[in-house]
């Protein structure tokens, strides 16, 4: 889950890091009030779960409370990078050290190449950091071990700060900041904790000017208290279409099998497909053939007849959907007969003729003969392990 900047900063502040003074607001009037309280120039930043806000016009400056109100007025209720703007963070504009020597990018994450936890840092911070990182040789990377009995290795922070070329008090303070970032990254089960930039204030303290925090959904079970402190981020992460919401309801109503990632695509060919790898493969084949998928989906495990029936109805009832293709890789865990029964029942409950509503059924594997018998009874086309995804898709294309 991506944590909104304001909530990430609140966590970091509670964790001993310096962040600019500020407050999240949802009305322009509140923005003016906060700017007045801050008593100086402010930055106004939309709170959406993605990066690239500056370039997209989601970060603005204002010198007066009135200007802050006007800026907030234009941002709130709008859309930036496809995300609705429900709140903005109004923050003091930082007074920086002169000359501006301290602007650092820091990222703590896991490196897929070495398969280790890692810190990346560079003095080339700013909004183009990704391209800088690729081209700039001054980027410092240090991996660190997770096998120190939960202790954060403090020398890593010192090494990175030294490699970046800092000395004296600035070095000592930066080392401490880096150690804290590593500590919180591990403590919160983050998969990314990025500070860009980390700025050296006029008072010689490092300040987190912007923060990207992404938490590991698979570790959510051990962070109930942490998540309770992030209501806006949880809400933003849960923004789904009505179709996705219904699919999730069907999925959670019955623990058998998985109905994962139902995403609407707007076409006329409904897809009940799975598992993960096969769904990707089938989706490519469908699009390559020039067919128009109504949705993406990943079914897996051993879903019940009820779950398949409800999903069938949900997909077939989408506006513009004329027929449903049911396809999976050779299955071992999923029972073919249960899926067959589910799709037929779904079509019948909608008053549809199964052989017209279900354009193809290609799931070879366990209980295949029983499944085939059900489909044969209703005249639904069954494809077996001799028929590749590409052949089945070609047959669907021919029928349209």
């Amino acid at each position: 889950m991506k944590v909104l900047e304001a909530e990430a900063k609140r966590l970091l502040a509670a964790g001993g890091l310096r962040v600019p003074r500020g407050q999240t607001v949802s009305t322009a009037e509140q923005a003016r009030q906060v700017a007045q309280d801050l008593n100086g120039p402010v930055v106004i930043k939309v709170q959406i779960p993605t990066g690239g806000r500056m370039k997209a016009g989601g970060v603005k400056f204002a010198d007066t409370p009135e200007a802050a109100e006007a800026v907030a007025q234009t941002l709130l209720g709008g859309t930036i990078l496809g995300f609705p703007v429900d709140s903005v963070l109004v923050e003091e504009k930082l007074a920086l050290a002169e000359p501006q020597v301290g602007e650092v990018f820091v990222g703590v994450t896991y490196d897929g190449r070495t398969r280790r936890a890692t810190v990346l840092a560079s003095r080339a911070g700013g909004i183009d950091v990704e391209s800088n990182l690729e081209s700039n040789h001054s980027t410092v990377q240090r991996n660190f071990s997770l096998l120190n009995d939960g202790e954060v290795p403090e020398y890593v922070g010192r090494e990175v700060a030294a490699e970046l070329g800092f000395t004296g008090q600035t070095f000592v303070r930066l080392s401490a900041v880096l150690t804290l970032l590593i500590k919180h990254f591990l403590e919160w089960d983050a998969i990314l904790l990025e500070v860009n930039p980390l700025l050296l204030g006029a008072d010689g303290q490092w300040v987190v000017a912007d923060a990207h925090l992404e938490l590991d959904d698979d570790a959510a079970y051990r962070h109930k208290d942490l998540l309770a402190q992030l209501p806006l981020s949880c809400q933003a992460a849960d923004q789904r279409s009505e179709f996705e919401r219904r699919a999730a309801e069907i999925d959670s109503a019955d623990h058998r099998g998985v109905a994962g990632r139902l995403v609407p695509f707007g076409g006329d060919l409904g897809l009940l497909i799975g598992g993960g790898g096969a769904s990707l493969t089938i989706m490519d084949a469908v699009l390559d053939a020039g067919l128009k998928p109504a949705n993406y989906c990943e079914i897996g495990g051993n879903p019940s007849v009820w779950k398949i029936k409800e999903l069938t109805k949900l997909i077939l009832q989408q506006p513009g959907v004329r027929r449903l293709a049911v396809m999976m890789n050779v299955v071992s865990n999923t029972r073919v007969d249960l899926v067959a029964r589910g799709v037929v029942k779904g079509a019948l409950e909608l008053g549809r003729v199964p052989r017209e509503a279900i354009t193809a059924f290609r799931i070879p594997g366990s209980w295949e003969e029983e499944g085939q018998a059900i489909l044969r009874h209703y005249g639904v086309a069954f494809y077996d392990r001799n028929d590749t995804f590409d052949q089945v898709v070609a047959a669907i294309k021919e029928m349209s």
């Binding site: 993605t50 896991y110 897929g112 190449r113 398969r115 280790r116 936890a117 990704e130 071990s145 997770l146 096998l147 591990l186 089960d189 998969i191 590991d216 698979d218 570790a219 079970y221 051990r222 990632r261 995403v263 799975g274 598992g275 993960g276 790898g277 096969a278 769904s279 990707l280 493969t281 989706m283 490519d284 084949a285 699009l287 390559d288 993406y296 990943e298 897996g300 999976m328 890789n329 050779v330 299955v331 071992s332 865990n333 070879p364 594997g365 366990s366 392990r385 001799n386 590749t388 995804f389 590409d390 052949q391």
Partner: protein, 302 residues
């Protein structure tokens, strides 16, 4: 010969009394796998389809030599189960558990590396050397495995467990048998990558070709391409990269947790180009795979 999994490999199952483990233990035994012991704390003294259950790995390995273990315990216990296996000298660990936190996965990989042990997974369905043995649960029942997988000379490496069986089936239908098939897992951090397996296949005189099932995200294909450009392989390598459609929808997650694409890196299109440059035969369509594998160097099924 094959790699990793052999007819004589003695297998331990950690979490053997779980519902899923009971099923795959029975099916693997029917396939001929030598599952010699199981572990579930608190269930020592019981047996699962004749396989004795112990309370600890130490007890199990004292009574039975074990070459490999299948770890099928809930996500929160996996790290500890890995430490237990590694500390008791087991050198091949296949983790079938899904949804392991990233931090745990990285710690697991680090621990195994230090101990000189190999981890396959997490989120792997297992390793099959057709006609010899299966470590894990890929392919389902013994009959289903026999139907989809046939002994032969082409290795299969797949980020998707389901698609590994689909590929084996596709090859089998085309008369091409397999040496060893490895479901490496779809997570962003996995213990054994394609690059790690390549030298093993290259050292196996009975493997002549390799089929890869790739997905968006990560750097595994990029690493393989780098190695092949620096040092070409004697193997005929065929790759299929799924999820090209996701290129157009950056930041959205489809398929496995590892498939998220950020920026141009890790996109299927970029992976296909790189693999091609490195001399890999890249299938545009899934059904092209057997045709690309087929060559004089590849010995078809009897």
């Amino acid at each position: 010969m094959t790699i990793l999994a052999f007819a004589e490999t003695r297998i331990l199952v950690q979490g053997i009394t779980g519902r899923e483990a009971i099923t795959f233990t029975s099916e693997s035994l029917q396939y001929g796998a030598k599952i010699v012991a199981g572990v579930t704390p608190g269930k020592g003294g019981q047996n699962v389809h004749g396989v004795p259950v112990y309370d600890s790995v130490a007890q199990a390995v004292r009574a039975h030599a074990c070459d490999a273990t299948v770890i099928s315990v809930p996500a929160r216990f996996v790290q500890d189960a890995v430490a237990e296996a590694v500390d008791n000298g087991i050198k091949l660990l296949v983790i079938v558990t899904e949804r392991i936190p990233r931090r745990d996965a990285v710690a697991i990989v680090e621990r195994a590396e230090r101990a000189g042990a190999r981890v396959v997974g997490p989120n792997s369905l297992g390793v099959i050397s057709p006609g010899q043995t299966r470590i894990g649960m890929s392919g389902g029942s013994a009959d289903a495995v026999r139907l989809a997988y046939k002994p032969g000379h082409v290795g299969v490496i797949s980020r998707s467990g389901g698609m590994m069986t689909e590929i084996a089936n596709l090859l089998t239908q085309a008369g091409i048998g397999q040496s060893t098939c490895v479901s490496i897992g779809g997570d962003p951090i996995i213990g054994t990558t394609t690059l790690d397996l390549l030298p093993l296949y290259e050292a196996d005189p009975d493997t002549h070709g390799l089929v890869l099932f790739c997905e968006p995200g990560g750097v595994m294909e990029e690493q393989l391409a780098e190695r092949l450009m620096a040092q070409p392989s004697r193997l005929r390598i065929v790759a299929f990269v799924a999820g090209r459609f996701a290129d157009r929808m950056q930041g959205m997650r489809f398929g496995h947790a590892g498939t998220i694409v950020e920026g141009s890196k890790g996109s299927p299109a970029a992976k296909m180009d790189l693999l091609r440059e490195a001399g890999v035969r890249v299938a545009e369509k899934f059904s092209e795979i057997p045709g690309l594998v087929w060559a004089e160097s590849v010995v078809p099924l009897g």
